[in-house]
Structure formats: C-alpha cells, structure tokens
Symmetry: C2
Subunit: 355 residues, 2 copies
DNA sequence: CTGTTAGCGCATTCAT
DNA sequence: ATGAATGCGCTAACAG
C-alpha cells in the first residue's frame, strides 16, 4: 500500500510530525540535515500529504467550483480552460458542474459545492433574475461569469456585450446595410440583452429605424435559430443582414439561409457571436464577434482569488464588474447589400481575417 | 454566519451528535420524534454536512478526477457531460483537469488528484506508451477513456475504432471509391491506430491496394490536416476520397480542398470523425463517424464505480475493456467518384442523415 | 530549532 | 433507541 501518513514519514526520518509539517509547508525553519532526511523519507515512501485532513484543519480546500449551463456550447470550454489554467497556477483545483440551463439543478450543484467546502465559485448562472446572490455570498465568494444577474454590482466578469453588439451592427452599417435584423437568446440573460442594446444604439446613432418585426428573441437552440431565420427571410421587405447573438442560433440561421437557397453573403449577410475553428472554416467563413473566452476565465479566477484571499494592505471592497472587449472578425459571411453602393468606411478598426 | 456544525444542530434539537449523524446517514434507527426535531434543526440552521470532515473519517471523498488532453476539442465536452451526469447521479462530483496533451502536466494532475484523495480517476491519457497504469492503480482505481494504453487489459472504455475505421472506409468503397487516402493523428494513440487498422482491413477485404503515399500521420492540429491534405491532393494519381481520423485535421483538410478549388464531394469525398452541430451544418454537410461520446462518459463512470465500490457478491476481477459501436452519418461530403459507376450497395446499414 | 499536544467536524464503536 | 468517547491526518500553538 502506498498511502502513508505524516507519522510514517516522521518515524522513518527520525523526527516529529511537526517537523515534517514544517518542511512541507515551509512554516518554520528546519535545519538542513533534518529537512533533507524528511525529504528523503517522503520520497522513499512516495508520500503525498492528505489534502482532506489538511483542509479540515485549515478551513480551506484549495478547490473552487465552476458551474456552467452547457459545456457542449463551444464558448464555455474555452472559459473553463482559462479558469482552470489560472486556478492550477495558484494551487487550486476545479470541480466542474453542468447545470444544463436548469436553475434547479444549478441550486443543487451549489448546495453540493457548499457541502464540499469549496473556497469559492465561478458561476455562469442559468437564471439571472433569481436573487440568490445574497444567499450564495454568505456561503462562499462568488464571481459571476458571462451572465450577470440583474442588479449585481460586484463580482462579475464578462464581455462588454453592449459594445460588442454595437460593433457588430456598426460593421454592417459601414458596408452599407440598413435593414438589419437581430435574433437573440433569452433576453433575461445579460449577454443577449446587452448585445441587443448595442444593436439599438448603433442603429439609432446612424438614425436608422428599428423595425420591431426584425427583432426576434428565442431560446439559444439551433432549431429556434432556423425558425426565426425563416420567419425573417420571408418578411417583406426582407432584411439584408441578420445578426445572431448566439452561436447555436447562428448555425440554425445559416441552415435556414441554405434551405431557402439564398446566397450568403450576396443575398444576405450574417454576423454571429463566439469564434472557433469551425466558424473560420465554415463556407462562407463566418463573420463573428469573438469573445475573449480564455481571458474571461482567467480574469474571473483572478477576481475570485482576490475575494478568497483578500489583500491585507488594501480594502478590497470596491464594487467590481469587469467587462472585456470583444473582437470583430470579418470573414466571408458579410458583404455590402446587393443593391447598395458601399458606404465609405470610416473609423473601421476591425481585424480583417482571411476566410 | 451560516456555517454550522453537527453540534449546533444537536444542541438545537436537544439530542446528541450521534443522533444527528444517524439521522443524516440513516445509519441507525432513530425515533420519529427525535428524527423530526433533528430535521427541523438542520433546516432552521441551514445546515450542510461538512464533506471534508466526513471524508477524513470515512476515507472516501465521493469525488473523482477526470483528466482530458484538450477540453476545446468538441469530442471531450460530450464525454465529460456524460461522465459528470452519471457521476452526479451517484453522488459524486468531478474535478476536471486539462493536461493540454502534455504527459508531464498530466502526471502533476494525477499527483494532485491523489493528494486530494479522489476515489477514482477517468483518464484520457496523453502518452499511451508510458506504463504508468501500474503506479496509478496503486493509488486509486483508474478507467481509461478514449485512449487505451498499449498492453492494457483492464479498465478502459472507448469506441470500437477498428470497426469504425472499417465502416468509414467501407462506405467509400461501396459508393465506388478505390483510391482512398487516410490522414491520422499520432499513431501512438489507440484511436488513430485503430481507425487506420480498420481502414487497412476494409481495403484488403475488397482486395484494393493500399498505397503508402496515401497514408499520412500528423499531430491532430488543423494546420497539419491542411498540409497533409495539400500533399495528398497534389499526388498523381490523386485520391478520390480522404478519411481523417481526427476532427481538427478534417477541418484543415476541408480548408485545403477549398483552397485548391476542388469541389467536394464531386472532386473528392471526405469522411471525418466526431459529430457535432457544426459538422452537420457545414457546407457540404460532413459525412462523419459519430462516436457515442456521451455514452462513453457514462459507461466509463459506471466501470469506475464498479471498481470503487466492488460488488460484494461477485468477484469483479474479470478484465474489462469496453468498446462501443460508432455510427456512420452519411452527409453531403461523400459521393461516388467522378468517373466511376456506383458500385452496387450491399450490406449498407448506415444512418442516412439529411445534409 | 524541535517535539508534544489539542482540536478541525464527523462516523462509529461501545455502553447504557 | 440514544449518548459518550475515540480517532481519521493534519496544522498551529506552545513548551522546551
């Protein structure tokens, strides 16, 4: 058996357990000779400190929970990777929970995480209206990721979705579009709501009318994207461009376009959200707003860490909601509308990507 | 503060901690009245048992580790979801680790998991030649997922990759292809090796020659797929169909085909591995071998569970490697070769999917 | 510098 | 049926 305890190590090294503990944690000064003996003994016994016992004593587990609504949505694995990487760098492990977009399941996950005494939680919540933050904060530090509950003033990291929506819309405007439609996921979720707001801002800034029939909210499913796409494309007049605030709905939208035999981008332009290898190699290459997913994960963990280990010197209680800039990747799915001269491009700062 | 202990509950309920423990674990019979009081007290105090303390006492954590080489590869989130779902159903949580295809990092992860005293590990290993299974098994039960180390005789769940490779190849043969090329990831990884073996089997069964220049091994990166694709497509004679044993390389391959202006499937057919919403909506729809990823995750956890909680009645030591059948999804990227009459289809059992 | 000791919160004998 | 007491492996005083 290879499961030895500190006492085994202490005995073999001929020292006390306190000395072993000191060597492991660098907690006290131990003479070189004994320190060496301890290390040898640990090696010989293949000893690994029991983190469970350690946690019971210290009150910390060095584990955080991470709750996401859907790990198969390409956006989240990227966030997870960033968070896990940052966490590991600080000695933390991550318990991953998939809530399946179900707030009940999410609550159960949070209960479990509390029972396991995680030091903190990164939460991409499924129900932003539930005022559960207050309850949660009493249990452990929480940083909201991607989706920010209404009314939250502290502890969140996300994309600057209003700006992202603005940027997406503005790109289309710049290349000559005016009849722009917008399909979104549930508007209760801050990313979708924010992107729509950015859309409105951009349209108004240009003085373009926002036709309500060009705005459709759905549920972030592929089929819904397809359905809403079909509805929009059968409208008269038909929009010359459609923005999808969700990567799954974009897929359905592209399907609808193909189904109707409309050429993209010649017949209709599309802009989506979230980037991946697939969007780039799609035919046509998909113009998207790329969220800094990895960085969101990293920043979220950093913020959580500052809440778990409050810096002694400074009061760390300034409200903190961090919004990271997204990047527009212009590819083949956007082009000037068929019957319009290209508007003179001004203030264009997009990254142009071959596609 | 909301962090109460069993003693708080016991005091409030007017019973002993032993009674509280008994109520929680159903370990002993407790009178209805006291049981009720305890439950009320727990509720009133918002008490959640401290799993850390419990683990120290019981020697179990009800946590498993899961190590994957790349969470941003669409295949793994699906496996993770299946495993996490099954695990949660049995009261287990999952610590997720991304090894980034690096066996050193993987080893560190395993050390950490051991230190955290996880009850078992699901491992999609990055280095199948390292004989570390023996070391690992001394620490905790391990079930290998997807990738099976050479020589392993027990504890693995994967797709039946030989059959899958055979099936993919046979589909192409059935519709008239003979000059079939094959690009793979590192052949040290069992899935790639197995699929190639299936390819060879299918070609030989039909009596077709296997041209070595049609076989290219790479490293599962998109760019590599592109490069190998360009090489193959510039060969003379050019293959009429190409199979990619990896979803990322397939993407590069499709890029290469587009780059050369070769129509797909008219000019060249492709078959890939791993299914997702993206492969289906790709233009053309991609013919792929869909691995039962979710089920692999579930089955792997089930097998791990049987190792963590050996059934008392039966000796559970029969060697166990479970291979699940994959499913061919025929879509738009495969068609008969330009200059060949379609061979009569026989024994065709593929699922035909609109695309 | 080093060893002894007291819990951390809980499950579990063992009496009662 | 119930309670008192023991110890899981470790850290952090404290005493030497």
């Amino acid at each position: 058996m290879t499961k030895h305890t500190m006492r085994d190590v202490a005995r073999l090294a001929g020292v006390s357990v306190a000395t072993v503990s000191a060597v492991i944690n660098g907690t006290a000064t131990v003479s070189e000779g004994r320190s060496r003996k301890v290390r040898d003994a640990m090696e010989a016994l293949d000893y690994y400190p029991d983190q469970v016992a350690r946690s019971l004593k210290t009150g910390r587990t060095d584990v955080i929970g991470m709750v996401v609504p859907d790990i198969t949505n390409i956006f989240f694995p990227q966030v997870i990777r960033g968070a896990e990487d940052a966490a590991r760098g600080q000695g933390y492990s991550v318990i991953l929970c998939d809530s399946n977009e179900d707030s009940e399941e999410e609550r159960r996950h949070l209960d479990t995480l509390f029972s396991r005494r995680v030091d903190g939680v990164l939460l991409a919540c499924s129900d932003p209206s539930a005022g559960y933050e207050h309850l949660m904060r009493r249990r452990f530090p929480v940083v909201f990721v991607d989706r920010i509950p209404r009314g939250l003033t502290d502890g969140a990291v996300s994309t600057d979705n209003v700006e992202a929506g603005f940027h997406a819309t503005n790109h289309l405007i710049q290349i000559g579009h005016e009849r722009i439609a917008f399909i979104t996921g549930q508007l209760g979720l801050s990313p979708h709501y924010g992107r729509l707001e950015g859309f409105r801002n951009a349209m108004q800034a240009r003085g373009y009318a926002i036709r309500e029939e060009y705005l459709r909210a759905g549920d972030s499913q592929i089929d819904t994207g397809r359905r809403l796409g079909l509805e929009l494309l059968n409208l008269n007049p038909r929009p010359t461009a459609i923005i999808s605030s969700n990567n799954k709905m974009l897929l359905g939208l592209m399907g609808a376009i193909a189904e109707l035999g409309i050429p993209c981008p010649a017949g209709v332009s599309t802009v989506g959200f979230d980037d991946s290898a697939w969007t780039e190699h799609f035919a046509p290459g998909l113009t998207v707003i790329a969220q800094p997913a990895d960085e969101i994960g990293r920043a979220a963990f950093a913020m959580l860490l500052s809440k778990m280990q409050p810096a002694d010197g400074e009061a760390n209680d300034e409200p903190d909601i961090k919004l990271l800039p997204a990047e527009l990747k212009v590819r083949g799915s956007t082009a000037p509308p068929r019957s319009a001269a290209t508007a003179p491009a001004k203030n264009v700062r997009e990254t142009i990507v071959a596609g």
